[in-house]
Symmetry: C2
Subunit: 203 residues, 2 copies
């Protein structure tokens, strides 16, 4: 790690703070700090203010647990969205990914995690009982698409939700698992290939 003790204290402090961010090493932090220093003061203040105001102005949507700055988020408020289909995702990054695929017209439910006994994450740590409540109270919901990741924990959580909601009058589906679009079979791992074969369909 480069020694930068001979630089001004304020600059070293910025380098240290930037190094704490994920995927930003010490060298990248130095580069970023210098590029911020080269900009004019207003631009640095813009980023500073954005950070300062962040935590005070963000809540969870009371309905779907997406992030919002009011009681109910913009997606839940959007009348053009089909409220009969709910896509259940692990986190807001996944919601952004599905929303930007531009082919899902329903609403969401964000779990904020997956069940993981090893990491001590049980049903009280994620928004899974809130999902059950929501299904029971809202008759408009007809289908639940479980879009947790296709990892072991994601699969386990999907299975748990299916069992939890047994008896509820709602169709429960799971996103398809197989070869990614444009993927080369000889580069795919054996789990992906196994799934692609198991989940084959008539064409």
């Amino acid at each position: 790690m480069d020694n930068t003790n001979f630089l001004p204290e304020v600059l070293n402090r910025l380098i240290e703070e930037l190094s704490k961010l994920p995927s930003i090493g010490h060298k990248s932090a130095i580069r970023l700090a210098f590029s911020i220093l080269k900009k004019n003061k207003n631009e640095a203040m813009g980023l500073s203010d954005a950070l300062k105001n962040l935590h005070d102005n963000i809540n969870y949507c009371q309905k779907c647990f997406n992030l919002c700055n009011e009681e109910i988020c913009k997606i839940c408020k959007n009348n053009k969205k089909d409220e009969s289909t709910i896509c259940v995702v692990e986190d807001v990054m996944d919601l952004i990914a599905i929303e930007n695929s531009q082919n899902f017209t329903g609403k969401y439910h964000v779990l904020h995690g997956v069940l993981s006994p090893l990491k001590g994450i049980g049903i009280n740590e994620i928004k899974v009982m809130e999902l059950k409540d929501r299904i029971e109270k809202d008759d408009a919901i007809k289908e639940l698409i479980l879009a947790t990741n296709t990892s072991t924990e994601g699969e386990t959580t999907a299975l748990f939700i299916r069992e939890l909601l047994e008896g509820c009058d709602v169709k429960i589906t799971r996103i398809a698992s197989g070869m990614p679009f444009g993927g080369d079979l000889d580069y795919a791992d054996r789990h992906t290939l196994t799934r692609a074969l198991e989940n084959r369909s008539l064409i």
Copy 2:
């Protein structure tokens, strides 16, 4: 570019500000913003404060133009440094690199750029006349190592400085150019190989 309009305004503002940083694309900015949101408020405030205080507390050293928060920088003040040898570098990132190679015991002069007529950077845009002043005023300086980059502009600037200081009672040297340490000859570009051959020495 992912649409994130459905997220809270404060979060989108942070994403936008982070995207302005070099080597941080929109997707990385989203990931960084979420990771900052997951930290507690104090950590976000730490980065915010570091940015806020940056520009007001940094000057150029009046002697070598390194960054500092006083008149004279920590390196110029350091009595253990040999003040007879001055290493001339393009920017502070290069100073950090040389300082961390731990084999240079002299002091520095930071040009803050290289001559580039195409980009409109002439002798008044970089600290080159200040270097001449410094050499003329300071009799202690015996050797000037020109460590500008080995690019066309870096070479041109080195040649310019050599001519500018013709007649001054100071030895002017240029960093060696050749194969990098541990480099494979069959991966080296032809300019590097040409230099390595031209600058060969007796062993």
